[in-house]
Assembly symmetry: D2
Homo-oligomer: 357 residues x 4
């Protein structure tokens, strides 16, 4: 028999074994499903590490090679994991933020019943880093409204690195924001830092905002799952996309489906931008989740001189909108002076976007 004939013969043996393995694996899976039901009746958890350890030990003792014990254990761990995954398929189907079909999308409608996010349009969220005064908000809102912006930043609680930095105006800041938003027919988004603030803030804000530092504050996330207003969730500055989606899941699984994800740049070694905008991450989020995704072009860059290309990039990425900081007089802003756009700069950026069609 030539080497070639022998190869053909051996390969057909492999094919046969493959089918036998498939048959055994399927039978095994069906039994595991029944075990799952029995465990449910007994009120026991499905995952039983001691049972797994026992099975692995038996396999190790029975193994005569040629696979090493380590390889056999690794293969069976994969089989166990697949079986467990099967049992937990319903559980997994419950990961609510995961996109189940290409067309699935969460569309968030604001109180006017007309303004939406996630519906294929491109929304702008804009405004100063922080509410500083009525005049500042009024001047900004007028300019934003003139360009059709419907959602204004009305930040009154600022999470700051140092306890000695400006921490926001607090509730009076919210009152200013509300008054100005009403004047121009706009909606307010404002950062919440602790679940104890929900009731108070609920009187003022249209969209709650969870900052990067609180992305994994599960007590806050769960509490926001109990309200009926949309929540903007910012990616933590070193959060993986997986962690980001699970953070959203905390809110959604607690009852509030209206979550908007914001990519705001991740922390890397690069110093010419404040953070590194993860635009590939935006594309992946749009693939993996049905939630709307917005690109923060201010914190990701930390500099205003690339606002125009980043706005174009945000639009091209398939995101549902962009967030940009705008201030009537950036050099004297109480925070984020380097990255806020002046009103003429904002208008110029809007012209640039409009030219794209």
């Amino acid at each position: 028999m030539t080497a070639h004939d022998q190869l053909t013969e051996l390969r057909s043996q492999i094919d046969e074994i493959n089918m036998q393995l498939l048959d055994l694996l399927s039978r095994r899976a069906r039994i595991v499903t029944e075990i799952g039901k029995a465990l449910d009746e007994l009120g026991s958890k499905h995952y039983d590490p001691a049972r797994e350890a026992g099975m692995l030990q038996e396999l190790e003792q029975a193994n005569k090679g040629p696979f090493s014990n380590e390889t056999i254990k690794a293969l069976f761990r994969e089989i166990f994991r697949a079986s467990l995954a099967l049992e937990e398929q319903q559980a997994r189907a419950k990961i609510q933020v995961q996109r189940k079909s290409p067309d699935e999308r969460t569309v968030i409608t604001l109180p006017d019943g007309v303004t939406t996010i996630g519906n294929g349009n491109f929304q702008l969220i804009a405004g100063p880093c922080a509410v500083e005064s009525y005049e500042q908000m009024d001047e900004t809102a007028a300019a934003l409204a003139a360009r059709g912006v419907k959602i204004i930043r009305g930040m009154a609680f600022k999470p700051r690195t140092s306890p000695y930095e400006f921490q926001g105006l607090g509730e009076p800041g919210l009152q200013i924001a509300r008054k100005v938003a009403n004047k121009y027919g706009m909606f307010i988004t404002s950062e919440i830092m602790d679940k104890s603030q929900i009731d108070m803030m609920n009187d003022y804000v249209d969209i709650f905002w969870v900052g990067a530092r609180n992305m994994q504050n599960s007590f806050l996330l769960r509490a926001l799952g109990g309200i009926n207003k949309p929540v903007i969730l910012k990616r933590g500055l070193a959060a993986t996309l997986e962690e980001f989606l699970y953070a959203a899941e905390y809110i959604v699984s607690s009852g509030n489906p209206n979550v908007i994800l914001i990519e705001r740049g991740i922390r890397t070694f690069e110093k010419w931008t404040r953070n590194t905008l993860d635009i590939g991450g935006v594309a992946v989020l749009k693939l993996e989740s049905h939630l709307p995704v917005v690109v923060d072009i201010s914190h990701s860059a930390g500099r205003r001189d690339i606002a125009k290309p980043l706005a174009r990039v945000a639009r091209a990425s398939g995101a549902d909108g962009l967030m940009v900081e705008v201030h009537p007089n950036p050099p004297v802003a109480m925070s984020d002076a380097k990255q806020q756009l002046s009103i003429p700069e904002f208008n110029s950026m809007m012209d640039d976007l409009a030219a794209l069609g």
Copy 2:
């Protein structure tokens, strides 16, 4: 005149100008101090960006070269910054976590009046990732107590990436931890996740613990500033050392000086360890701050097979202690299975440390 003579002559002119600059800068600084007082009387902030912008504009108009306007503005911005720094010297002197002299150290004494952290000794904090049962805690505590460990992890609230993962036993877990700690004369440290938990947890724990995800939860930090028990503060997984110290400052400036810093590894690209232990950061923290610093050798590595060298490293670094996860049966642990030491592994690590003397 030779080039050499000319050089000497020119350099003496420079020396003279240097002295004149010094004189002007000093006079300027004295006037700025008086301005600061006047502003205080007027109740105004010292930092006035519009005034700065005006001064820079005047200098720009007056500048005839050879320095470019940009250089002149950069130099004066440095001068402004130095002046502002002078005004804020008292403010800065108030950064309480900063070490003011080489000998300054915060020594934390536990309720027995004997056990201390930060006093030049090397303390161990050990125990399982999470409280799972009385038996698990009892077996662990017995082993730890036998090696002189005084502080045991009694974690009942687990911040988890997914809402579907084990979230801890809650208050019943604290009751188990308290009972076991009392039995062996140990102190409990336990993670707090939200300020609403303070009163309840205060009944059980000896040392509050703030996890990496909450390092910048300023509402929680401030609330912990109001209690009279020590607080362990973990570094966020992508927090700079500066941000870490400012987070501690939130607690200390709110009234609680007893903060223990834990370095637990930072998030990097490396995959063979779960995180990258920043041992250089530990050395820098000991230089910059008087607070005790502890090294977490479990989360930083994410693998138990390098526990011994990391324990030796923690000791050598000048840290005030180490934190290690120990579980009676790591493979079946409900979380962090890969990194918890078994009791024999823990004993072996202790033998290794003891051999160092």
Copy 3:
């Protein structure tokens, strides 16, 4: 005198001192320029740390406050640095890759005299990760040529992590690439790994390619400065934008102005993409440099399912082109199987780009 009057008076004193400081700094700068000339005559270096140390010591001795010695030394170090910078202004003006005016751009013309990069158009560079066979290259080139692509990857030397991985076909690979490129009227870009390869490769390639691993191989960069073909320079996987531009400067300052920069994603903690595409960095490079910039949408993502949004993003960012890996049968590719596009996927991406207009 009221506090307000006093403030006005003090501020006018400050204004006067500012002008005196400006005058002194300017005089100082002029003398330093003369010193530079004297040093040139003497053949000495301009930077003289011992002289600086001496001046700082004198200032320290003369300083009576209120600035601390440390502040005074820091301020004067800034002044020294500015003076040195002035002397080196001509040197700095020589940083050739830096954009001197908003309109400055390097336009690279390929041998047909028609195809250009950097001229406001959007060029595609495409082809397989590596040359594997004539058939593979021919099939790919036919598909690319059909969509107007002029530049094909003809990689015959593959830098690989392990010495046991496929290292490329070597010169026979270049022969295949040349034959195929000629057949379809295309240009070849191919990676060079060592300066000893220049002469041999010069016979085959139209555009030399320096990989991420060699971005700071200054011997190679300088050698490529001596040839008269364009060079594509990839950003190192953890190189800052500053390091990237300086690497280009090694080539340009050695005589070859025709450098094309490729952003290919940087190494971060994120795992759902192979690297993190630094699109903000692309925008900054276009601001800071006149060199053409191309976006590699294959290595940055490491997955083909986001090729379309990334292609749109590359176009929107202001980049001069994109690089994409295309293979007739990605699953059996000898490298980068996960990220290469099949020909239908490539066509679909091109349709998508074309729809943008």
Copy 4:
């Protein structure tokens, strides 16, 4: 039958299937081994992606559930991978830098036949960042020799970010280093940047040094595999440990077993140290490889004020030595001024280490 009885029954069925699976997997593995031999006879590669794709397609068609096709394909891909791994076991056994037993270690002996690295002792490598003059080298060497240091840095080619920075003295610098080393009975290590330098440098240096920027310069690594002097290999600033070991494998597999690994800090977001010393990585390298590992406490920190704790840490980590930059007058050094130790600082560090015993 109770749920409990049923559970027992179902679990015994699972146990039986496990054994059948083990049997089939083992038979399959034996056949794959024979296939490997047949392929060798035919001169074909073992890995055949088209064959795999075909098998997966057949399994997909035959699969009737309950596992999804995706799960089945994933499981079989694991089985294929294990089989391939078995075939390649001999290949893998050839990864020469991998430690095969706990006691395996590479001991490198220097030309005096006495000085060793990797033999359980703790060696110092010290000296200035760059050779600047005979006097500088002489003064440094005298101080180092007085403390028993045998290996001195004699760097004459400096890889620099900018082409306009000091690039080293070149061959004259090597002549200085050689003369001084001979005077004090020391060995020189010096950085090589291109394989064309080997012959020239071979006349002067005792230990070749490959810098971080060249860690993956495979042409240089392979060339150094052909010489009979030890090679120090620095970890690239964003290289994973796996990439680092494979880089060493390029040298070792090319014929030179005498490679010394240097951990020098990795690039992260932290700014208070120049890089982040990966001390956990050192511990992992000592586990995974038999090569000596040295800790660079200068580049990892970028600051001299933590040299003492880092030296103690290096010793405690199980590393085979440390590398520290020492300069007679650090403030005027032509490079790395901030991190080089003065001679008194070096002596103080040595005293501190000596006190450890």
